[in-house]
């Protein structure tokens, strides 16, 4: 795949050196999205639509799929490839019905004892009145609460942008992994700059200051591992990126299979309860 690169890189092959360059790679228009991974790393995907309450949010997709012969529930944010699709999928900015669909599918996975795989790629939750009217905050909160207690293994992979509570709403897991050029942050760099300095144009500074790259998060102990990308970024070779994701998922699920569910939930709770740095 030859990305018609609009990214600012020193050269196509040079590994990125700044957080802002990673941001550009994480947002690369040819980067593989959830549905690409579903096609390349899984087989027999059947998409399941709708939250059974209000609507189907095209910014989150999910359904049953086979991972090397084993059925798993895959749920991920989905961006669009072109303008029309991006309008439909709101650039991956999920709405409450998306989170509620995800929760519905996670409950089904729990019912049948299927592991859950989530693929995270959201610039941020949808800032709009319809999303607020339908309780965006409450939908996210309900997902977090449910995921802390789900009685099946959960593996999350940040494949592109892990932006804000909209990312975490699919991201409470037993294993949290990041693609090498993915970013994960409390808000998009532009939103953070806007909050901090009332100047959304200073995203590059915010990106550096907030430490949002995979190596940063691994160092902080917030994620468990980094999945390597093909040279130049995942957009240069979707198949290779998907292969790497599949290998890691298979390996991690095999490890999690060895754990008693009760232990898994206890470890999941301990993991999140332990995150935080303060003086006492």
């Amino acid at each position: 795949m030859s990305g018609n690169a609009r990214v600012v890189l020193k050269s196509a092959d040079a590994p990125p050196t700044t957080a802002w360059e990673r941001v550009q790679l994480a947002r690369h228009p040819q980067r593989p999205y959830t549905l690409d991974y579903l096609q390349l790393a899984f087989t027999d995907f059947v998409e399941l639509h709708g939250d059974r309450l209000f609507a189907d949010d095209a910014a989150i997709v999910g359904g049953l799929a086979s991972l090397t012969g084993r059925t798993v529930m895959v749920i991920g944010h989905q961006k669009g490839r072109d303008t029309r699709e991006n309008i439909l999928r709101r650039f991956g900015m999920a709405r409450p019905e998306g989170y509620r669909k995800a929760l519905r599918l996670m409950r089904q996975a729990e019912k049948f004892g299927m592991p859950i795989v989530t693929l995270i790629d959201i610039p941020g939750a949808d800032p709009s009145l319809p999303a607020e009217e339908r309780g965006q905050a409450f939908a996210i909160a309900e997902n977090l609460l449910a995921m802390t207690e789900l009685k099946v293994p959960i593996v999350s992979v940040v494949i592109g942008e892990g932006g804000s509570g909209g990312a975490l709403a699919l991201g409470v897991a037993d294993r949290v992994l990041m693609m090498a050029n993915a970013i994960y942050s409390v808000a998009s760099p532009e939103a953070a700059a806007s909050i901090l300095w009332k100047d959304g144009g200073r995203g590059a500074e915010a990106a550096e200051a907030m430490k949002i790259t995979a190596p940063d998060l691994l160092r902080f102990g917030v994620i468990d591992g980094i999945i390597p990308e093909p040279d130049g970024g995942a957009h240069t070779d979707h198949a290779a990126a998907a292969q790497a994701v599949r290998d890691v998922l298979v390996e991690q699920l095999a490890v999690l299979d060895q754990c008693e569910i009760a232990d898994l939930i206890e470890q999941r709770a301990a993991r999140y309860r332990g995150i935080g740095v303060f003086r006492s």
């Binding site: 939750a125 977090l144 509570g165 990312a167 953070a192 200051a209 303060f278 003086r279």
Partner: protein, 310 residues
């Protein structure tokens, strides 16, 4: 005196010579913060009215100290985890501004070490664990300290079997703590899941304003969610929404009544009704099978847990 009646800052200091001689250095009058009201209020009356304007019913924001004083039985509040203070895990410096300095400066200006104040208290004789967020400390944004205090309060509530009451106001996540701030959402909710598993109730009170990661985590999953009249509550704030969608929002959007109408909160209460409402809820939860079964019930309809559900 003429200066008093111009539009100006929310708090007006009456010139010294106009003060009654018996008064202390504090000002006697305060202006209603509501732009459309701006009523001049006598401080003592305003305070007796729980910092609510008697003319337009505007509910002024309260400090954590004022909130605690208004809400729980006098002298019953015992503060915990007072010394927890922000660290700087990201070594956050950007545009010449360091988080470390911002924290120091806020500490010096407000005397507060963090946005959350938590402790054990008694409300009309019933024990509870209380957490109050103070908007004056960096917009009560949630970083590691707020998250840790919520978790510890939830754990104390679980151990004691007493209700967890959180009074929330927040601008959202604390950007300066980056991913640690985001993860506090999962952290606090984990503690609440464990509280829920122990069948101990969490009552969440949302006051003006509660936004972002606080609404979207522990504050959004109360067994009862109470919004104070007029409170702005949501995920994205109205300014962000207007900026991005280029649409002007109706003035009542994301206010307490709007949330009630859309089914997002259980109750909207006036501030003067907050305490009596909480007392009633606490009594009802106290008279459930599991909590405080040894308490003699007011009208004798509660059975012991060991004899099965009432």
């Amino acid at each position: 005196m003429r200066n008093l009646f111009r539009k100006g800052p929310a708090y007006v200091t009456v010139p010294a010579q106009a003060r009654a001689p018996a008064q202390t250095g504090d000002s006697l009058w305060v202006r209603c913060e509501n732009e459309r009201c701006r009523e001049l209020l006598y401080v003592r009356e305003f305070e007796n009215n729980l910092n609510v304007c008697h003319k337009c019913e505007h509910h002024a924001r309260l400090s954590a100290r004022e909130r605690v004083a208004q809400l729980v039985d006098e002298d019953s509040f015992v503060e915990h985890d007072k010394d927890l203070a922000p660290a700087d895990p990201l070594d956050f410096v950007a545009a010449g501004e360091a988080y470390r300095h911002k924290v120091e400066e806020t500490f010096e200006r407000t005397g507060k070490r963090e946005a959350a104040v938590c402790g054990t208290a008694v409300l009309d004789g019933l024990p509870l664990e209380l957490v109050v967020l103070d908007f004056a400390f960096m917009g009560a944004s949630m970083g590691s300290v707020v998250g840790e205090k919520i978790v510890r309060a939830a754990d104390r509530a679980r151990a004691a079997g007493s209700v967890l009451l959180t009074v929330n106001a927040s601008g959202g996540a604390r950007m300066h703590e980056g991913i640690f701030s985001l993860m506090q959402m999962a952290k606090t909710v984990t503690a609440l899941a464990q509280l829920g598993a122990a069948r101990v109730p969490h009552i969440s009170v949302l006051v003006d304003p509660t936004l972002g990661g606080v609404t979207a985590s522990y504050a959004g999953v109360g067994d009862v969610i109470v919004a104070e009249r007029g409170a702005l509550v949501g995920f994205a704030g109205p300014r962000v929404i207007e900026q991005i969608t280029k649409q002007k929002l109706p003035p009542d959007a994301q206010r307490a009544a709007f949330l009630l109408e859309h089914g997002m909160v259980d109750l909207v209460v006036q501030r003067r009704e907050l305490r009596p409402t909480l007392v009633r809820l606490l009594r009802l939860y106290a008279a459930m099978s599991r909590l405080h079964v040894e308490r003699p019930a007011g009208n004798g309809v509660v059975r012991d847990a060991s004899t099965g559900p009432a």
